[in-house]
Amino acid sequence: MQTSFINIESIRNDFPILKRKVHKDKPLVYLDNAATTQKPIQVIEAISNYYLTYNSNIHRAVHELAEEATLAYETTRDKIAKFINAKNREEVVFVRGTTEAINLVAYAWGRQNINKDDIIVTTEYEHHSNIVPWQLLSKEKGAKLEYIGVDDNGELILDHLDKYLQTGKVKLVAFSQMSNVLGTITDSEEIVKRCKKYGARVLIDGAQSVPHLKVDLQKLDCDFFAFSAHKMLGPTGVGVLWARKELLQDMVPFNGGGDMIREVHKYETTWNDLPYKFEAGTPNIADVIGFAAALDYLDKIGMDKVREHEMELTKYALDKLSQMKGIVLYGPKDVSKRGGVISFNLGDIHPHDLATIIDEDGIAIRSGHHCAQVLMERLDVSATSRASFYIYNTKEEVDVFVKSLNRAKELFKL
């Protein structure tokens, strides 16, 4: 009983970890993909192959190993540009992850462009990584931070955005393309369109969207875009900041050091070309190379197929869950408006207790505030439980999950 869009058996065979058992004899049901995904053997082998056969530093050495490593590293950049349909490869900057990408923008662009009484707009459903850097920046500059609210369906109230834009003071609007808690897919093109009219820059957090949807940066037409490798089959410690060339050119470096310079003299330094100006020090070469294997893997399946599979799985799960007595489901009901992320509360069982109970049945879900305490406040809960799907999850796993939730209900005498 698999979804009709992808060959799940062959995909599952590529993920060694899915064969392991937890709590002695329970097959692993991994539903914590919004936190990080599992890695296929192709990614693991790409990384070990680098260390086994051509480990070396990149860019400056002239020996054969360095040439191979540089080529593999830079090929990943090309693949990323193609994957998100960016116009120029030099607009793709490697960072440690989405969090670092956003902090880079706050530091290297924000400090030059945000002034006293300017407004930065974010949303109530942001991850802390798209809130805290703007709090730091606005406090430093005496700027104001404003929030686009979330309605009861889990969607953004864009009237709020208009209200802020009309002040003429908005310099930046930062939002996620998909909520990591509600799964809501943001109407990003509409937001960008409105911001353009008022000359506000737009940063999009794509940490949850790039792994699950086809993303086309030229169509999106935003100014900054950030995402992480580890949420899309790749290794931890690699992320991408994409930004418009003209913005990157005017920005100051984030870190100073090797590789980001053209010439260093005692008191003056000139910067290297893009994107190297923002890649100081020896980068995470092995994991960048591993990321390329993840992109190849997703390309082979096709992002349209990934999306269709997740939609079918999410619909299947929502249908089953919504029949449970005492469950509260958060986020849009229409699966075309949401990704494969389901947040919920079951009776008065605290999410932490729920996660402990179903973990015994081999099921890994997330419980807590999901680094989105502003949203928790909006939902008026201290925490939620969250199940999130990816390409290797099956309807059978959803059944195991639902069965386990019923066991939790029995334990709590609900």
Binding site: I349, I357, G368, M376
Partner: protein
């Protein structure tokens, strides 16, 4: 520990019907803490009279383990000698709960209220009793709870 052993009737009862829930106006000890991992919050108020716990109340939100253990702790110390409360060890708390074998992730839930209690006593020793020797000992104990 299996869930069936953790979520026994008594734990669920204290979770749903917490004893000594509430606040004391102008308490001798007022201490708050949270567990950033899961967002559990706990605040404890205590009045000390004639070297005894004259009253104790708590408020908070969080999982069944954290809230039940807080409530059961208040019952454990109500009316007891301050010296006895000072000497309580975490093993006493876990024994009282019947949760001796919790894993590393959940033991923090069970001991959050104990940490709040001991931190509150520390402040009381410093601010009210000016007993720095005992306070230093208590500080060390608090940092070793988890």
């Amino acid at each position: 520990m299996s869930s069936a052993d953790i979520y026994r009737e008594i734990i669920l009862d204290y979770y749903r019907n917490p004893r000594n829930y509430g606040k004391i106006t102008d308490p001798d000890i007022s201490q708050r803490d949270s567990n950033p991992l899961c967002g559990d919050e706990l605040e404890m108020h205590i009045n000390i009279k004639d070297d005894k716990v004259a009253d104790v109340k708590f408020t908070g939100k969080g999982c069944a383990i954290s809230q039940a253990s807080a409530s059961m702790l208040t019952e454990l110390i109500m009316g007891k000698d301050f010296e006895y409360v000072k000497k309580l060890a975490k093993e006493d708390i876990l024994d009282n709960l019947g949760l001796q074998n919790l894993g590393p992730a959940r033991i923090k839930c069970a001991l959050l209220s104990f940490k709040v209690l001991k931190t509150g006593i520390y402040s009381y020793l410093v601010d009210k009793l000016k007993d720095t020797a005992s306070a230093d000992k208590m500080k060390e104990e608090v940092s070793g709870i988890y």
